[in-house]
Structure formats: structure tokens, C-alpha cells
Symmetry: C2
Subunit: 192 residues, 2 copies
DNA sequence: CTGGTCATGTAACACGTTACATGATTGT
DNA sequence: ACAATCATGTAACGTGTTACATGACCAG
């Protein structure tokens, strides 16, 4: 079971769809060609994580609509509570977020805080790297033709990526803390 | 020549370092193990993109310090001005930013505007997806136990990722526009 | 009549990860 | 003692990409 296996199960835990539609869903945040999805689905069907029914369509080819089994659902829920660490790839985190509604408040907030911790550490080491660069180049960082300028703007980008993700984590934790039934359909954590 | 080949040349165009140090540099934004770097360096040395000199050290193993050749530098500069498109991976963009000081203002701004265009289109399609989800679920998006809640917060994350990157692109373009020699060592485009 | 979408599948190849292999030095 | 850092390299395996293969339908 690799990340894509869990990913397909994660999506099928929410809706029963074809391999083609799975590809479209997952492509929103992870580029996976159909050539990887069909063989995996066949394997997972053999191993009883999913089942399918053949659906005939008018004007379109037949399709296999896959559904998750009880075994598959248990597998997803076990995977969901495995703690994240620094080596967890963003795709796996995104897939867990896709299923966060299966978690109780405690586990959901833990998932977000684990991620936040990794990101805070990343920012810390990158700020240290900026200090190293500044010490090495004294002020040529201000010239558009200096390699130190290039490195500086790149590291600032990486820091801002982590920073916005931390803000997003805290926004979601806030939604759990301020409880149910409030309307949060605006992205107050980030104005654009 | 793949992305990693250009990446190693991109870094060597700024400093002559060992394969081990190349790994450390590139790991700041792209996880590459040494097992991929050493064979590629050997290949590029054979093809005269780089040369190396064996440097003896006290208390540490000998190392091969690689330098870029004239042929390698021409290759990097040709690669730098190849326009980005939607299929360009973020690592390749980051590597080009690492070398942006080789570009004149016109080409540098073009690189950033190409990236911005791709990101604006991404945000557009994701906002459309949010509208689809809202239309499908009417208000259960507000419940922490709804799969629509999970999808909604995930898409908002993807939008905020693109939005902060656009802000960064505009910040850098601004540095080129407001010209040389001003002190921009604060990240005024993003407070954290 | 050409290209795009829906729909499934396979095969060859390239890319990426993990483990094996060696070995001195330095810090806990 | 044990682990980490510096330093290079190879090998086996798993992941990911591109192309081949088929075919009906619909829009420009």
C-alpha cells in the first residue's frame, strides 16, 4: 500500500466513481495519469479493498463504477491516524485533509498541529540559511546581478510558502475551536 | 538533459563545489539523494559540461570539486530563456530563480510573468470548482463532519498557495521596476 | 474532418528511493 | 561505544511518464 493506493481509497470513501473520474478528482492536487490508476484499481479489487459494477451509458463507453468495501474503509481510517512527520509528502497530507471529516476533533487538530510543527522547523532552518548568506556576501544581496540576490529571493519564497501553510493550518484549527454551525465560507485567513 | 542535469549546472554556474555540497544546496528545495548526483556528475564530466579537481583534505575524505565549463554555462543560459508553461514543475522554476541574476531585466520579468499567468489560471479553475461543490451540497459545507467541508478547506489551501506565489512574483517584479540599490531586505510583500 | 471528451487498458522507458559498501573524524 | 558528518560510489527495486491501442460521440 503506497500513497496512491491510500489516495484512491480516500476518494472512494467519499463517493463511488469510475477510474476515469478518480483521475480527474486527484488531478486537482496531484498529477496522476490513467495508466497508473487502472492497474492499481484492478489490484485493489482483487484484494477486496474495492468492488465495482459495470455501468452502461448512452453515447459514452461503458464504465466501471468503483465502491469502497468495509475492509477498504477500515484501511483508510487506520491510515488517517498514522502521525505525520517531516518526511511526509504534501500529497499524502492533502489526501488526509480530503478525509478529515472522518476524524474526531482531537485527531483532526493533531493532524494539523503535526503539519504546523514540521513547517515551523522548516522556516527556522531557512531563516538561519538567510543569515549565513547575508554574512557571506555583505550587501551585494541588494544587487539584481548578484547570485546572492537570486538565492535570497528564492529562500524568501520558500519561507512564504511555509508561512501561508501555517496560517491555513491555524485557520482550520480555529474552525474546529469556534465549533459547529458558524458560516466560514470566506477565507478570512488570507485576503487576495 | 533533464531537470536535475540543469539543476546541477545551475548551481555550479554560481560556485565550484563537490557532489556532496551540491546535494546539500539542492536539498534546500528539492530532495535529491547522493545516489542520483554522483552518476550524473560523472556523465556530465565525460560530456564536458563540467570538470573537476581532486582536493585533499585533513581529517576529511578527499573530494572532487566540480566547476562548470564554457559549454556548461552556455547550456544553462539557453535553458534559462526557454519559456515556462503550465506543465513546468516547481523545481525547474525554482532552479531558474536560482540563476535569475544571469538574465537581463526583460527576460527576468518575463520569467516571473509566465509563472504568474499559470498561477492565475490555476486559481480561476479552483474557484470554479468551489462553486460546483457549493452548488452540489447546499450548506452542509459548514459541518465539520461533511465531506464537502474537507474538500472545501483543501481547495482553499490550494488557492492560498497559488495566491501567495503570485504575491511573491509581483514583489520580485517590483524589485526590478523600482531599480537597483534600494534596500529590500525585508519581506514587505508578506508579514508573518 | 480534426481535435476534444469519455472510457479502459498495456508496455517501454526514465526517474527516484532505499539499501549496500567503505572509512576517517568528531561529538555525546 | 554510538551516532553523525563528510565523502564517494553501485545495485535493486519501486514509482512515474510517455506512447501505443481502441472506439463512439460531439463541437468547431
Amino acid at each position: 500500500m503506497n500513497t496512491l493506493n491510500y489516495g484512491l481509497l480516500a476518494i472512494l470513501s467519499n463517493e463511488s466513481i469510475s477510474g476515469y473520474d478518480l483521475m480527474l478528482r486527484i488531478n486537482a492536487f496531484w498529477h496522476i495519469p490513467h495508466s497508473r490508476i487502472y492497474p492499481l484499481l484492478a489490484k485493489m479489487e482483487q484484494e477486496k479493498f474495492v468492488t465495482y459494477t459495470l455501468v452502461e451509458q448512452k453515447g459514452k463507453p461503458d464504465k466501471k463504477v468503483y465502491s469502497i468495501t468495509e475492509k477498504g474503509l477500515i484501511t483508510v481510517k487506520e491510515w488517517l491516524i498514522v502521525p505525520l512527520d517531516a518526511s511526509t509528502k504534501k500529497e499524502e497530507f492533502y489526501l488526509k485533509i480530503y478525509c478529515i471529516h472522518y476524524l474526531d476533533k482531537e485527531h483532526a487538530v493533531q493532524l494539523l498541529k503535526d503539519r504546523e510543527e514540521v513547517l515551523v522547523e522548516k522556516i527556522h532552518s531557512r531563516k538561519k540559511r538567510i543569515e549565513e548568506i547575508k554574512a557571506e556576501c555583505d550587501s551585494s544581496i541588494n544587487s539584481l546581478n548578484s547570485p546572492y540576490f537570486s538565492r535570497y529571493i528564492l529562500i524568501q519564497k520558500l519561507i512564504s510558502d511555509s508561512a501561508i501553510e501555517i496560517k491555513w493550518c491555524r485557520w482550520v484549527i480555529g474552525l474546529y475551536d469556534t465549533a459547529e454551525n458558524i458560516n466560514f465560507l470566506d477565507m478570512s485567513f488570507f485576503e487576495f
